[in-house]
């Protein structure tokens, strides 16, 4: 078997008065699509931060394609999509993408930029400032920006929250395409049905630990909901 895309061993994040993660073990193979489910505050975002190397675990080790994620060179292999846009309002779509393609040293950047603009159907607005965009358009551009350097590992932190229907459909399509290309994808979400539709595997984080790790194919989303996000705990996030 090849090196796993992601190998997390006994990771805890426990700083001062804050407990975020405890004894996390997770191995993801290249090409897998894993959904991370759990309530707010269960540690999903912290887990993604540790995987992306932005945050240091207090204990344990993380390996991304066999090397340390806080190693700067390694970061070219991953992309993050979250509620944060990572875009400059005072630049055009074109300028934003050109900037990031220079930072990520994207080969043939002009061609690549054009290509992603076409994928998100924004070619006609590419010379307009991002500040003039509608919310949905900005979100599409965010997705394009993340895919610009063809990351081998995609980390999606609640990417569907706040998206309009059009953008959701587009994101789902793009994610399917990414999956076909053999990219590894980790997705945190509250939407169990979308998770089922997209991913092969899921893990459930509860109280800072992984409480379930299973395959999507033989699971019924409603059963997960009843088991882990039962009405007694308000069902706020489900």
């Amino acid at each position: 078997m090849a090196i796993p895309a992601l190998q997390i061993k006994d990771v805890s994040k426990d700083f001062g008065r804050i407990i975020a993660l405890r004894g996390i073990n997770l191995s993801v193979d290249p090409g897998e699509f894993v959904s991370i489910l759990g309530r707010n505050g269960a540690g999903k975002t912290t887990l993604l931060n540790i995987i992306s190397g932005v945050s240091q675990p207090s204990e344990g080790s993380v390996e991304l394609f066999g090397s340390d994620p806080s190693d700067r060179q390694n970061k070219a292999k991953l992309a993050v999509i979250s509620h944060e846009m990572f875009l400059y309002d005072n630049l055009t779509a074109m300028e934003n993408l050109e900037y990031y393609s220079r930072i990520y040293n994207v080969p043939d950047s002009a061609v690549r930029v054009e290509q992603v603009l076409r994928d998100i159907e924004l070619t006609h607005r590419r010379f307009d400032l991002v500040s003039t965009y509608s919310r949905g358009m900005t979100q599409r551009l965010t997705i394009a920006r993340a895919l610009l350097h063809e990351p081998a590992l995609l980390l999606l932190d609640e990417p569907f929250t706040g998206l309009d229907q059009h953008a959701i459909g587009m994101l789902i399509n793009l994610l399917r395409k990414q999956r076909e290309k053999g990219r590894t994808i980790l997705l945190t979400t509250h939407d169990l049905h979308t998770a089922k539709e997209l991913s092969d595997r899921f893990i459930i984080l509860e109280k800072h630990r992984i409480v379930k790790d299973g395959m999507m194919a033989d699971t019924d989303p409603d059963k997960i909901r009843n088991e882990f996000f039962s009405a007694s705990t308000a069902g706020v996030e489900v």
């Binding site: 700083f15 001062g16 008065r17 804050i18 407990i19 240091q56 207090s58």
Partner: protein, 230 residues
């Protein structure tokens, strides 16, 4: 073990401070000065200089703890740096208070923009900013990182600040210990050293207590958190 050391320190500190008072106000001979007010005011020196020394020591500890934190990411060093910065600010505040009390009868003014005075004030401002920064940030590893960076930059800046204003004329009394001529008479020297030692012990005691308190706070918060989790 920990509490034993603290108890010992406390037992030593009480009589030490009483002795300090006796030495400073009774035992040390009156200095010769034309101005009678100056004769009394001079005794503030035994508090003023040890406070300044402790301020520097405390900030040096902030620097070391900040470096140690960035190297290890151990919460322990973050807590030490905060504890030490707080105590340092306290002592430099004492310096800034006792200085003018002495200066008024002797120089006739509370304050002058002299090297020592200005650099002490800037020093105080640097570490007040350090503590303010921590107030503005939520607890977590981000805050620990940011304050460690400021703790390092701040300390590197301290000698530069002093150096930068040195070309100004100074009115401030010379570092008495250093010069052979006009150096302290033997009893004064003894009283000063005694006071310095007592203050340093006080620092050790205070930082231990503050550190323990911060750690207890952490533990308590964590326990609440665990209760929530379970």
């Amino acid at each position: 073990m920990r509490s034993k050391i603290d108890k010992f320190l406390l037992i030593v500190l009480f009589p030490a401070f009483l002795t300090c008072m006796y030495l400073i106000f009774q035992w040390v001979p009156q200095i010769k000065a034309s101005n009678p007010a100056e004769q009394i005011a001079q005794r503030i020196f035994y508090f003023h200089v040890p406070s300044a020394w402790l301020g520097f020591l405390a900030f040096f500890v902030v620097f070391c703890a900040s470096v140690a934190y960035l190297a290890t990411r151990n919460r322990r060093y973050e807590l030490i740096s905060v504890a030490s910065a707080e105590i340092g600010v306290l002592f430099i505040s004492l310096v800034l208070i006792t200085g003018p009390i002495w200066a008024k009868p002797v120089w006739g003014i509370w304050w002058t923009w002299d090297v020592r005075l200005t650099s002490s004030l800037i020093l105080w401002l640097i570490y007040v900013a350090f503590l303010m920064l921590r107030r503005y940030l939520p607890d977590g590893s981000k805050r620990a990182n940011l304050s460690a960076v400021v703790g390092i930059i701040g300390f590197i800046d301290v000698p530069i600040v002093y150096y930068s204003i040195r070309w100004w004329e100074t009115q401030h009394p010379k570092a008495v210990m250093a010069s052979s001529e006009g150096s302290l008479a033997a009893p004064m020297f003894f009283a000063f050293m005694f006071s310095l030692a007592t203050f340093t012990l006080l620092y050790v005691y205070l930082i231990r207590k503050r550190y323990q308190l911060l750690k207890l706070e952490d533990m308590l918060n964590k326990q609440f958190k665990e209760m929530e989790i379970l």
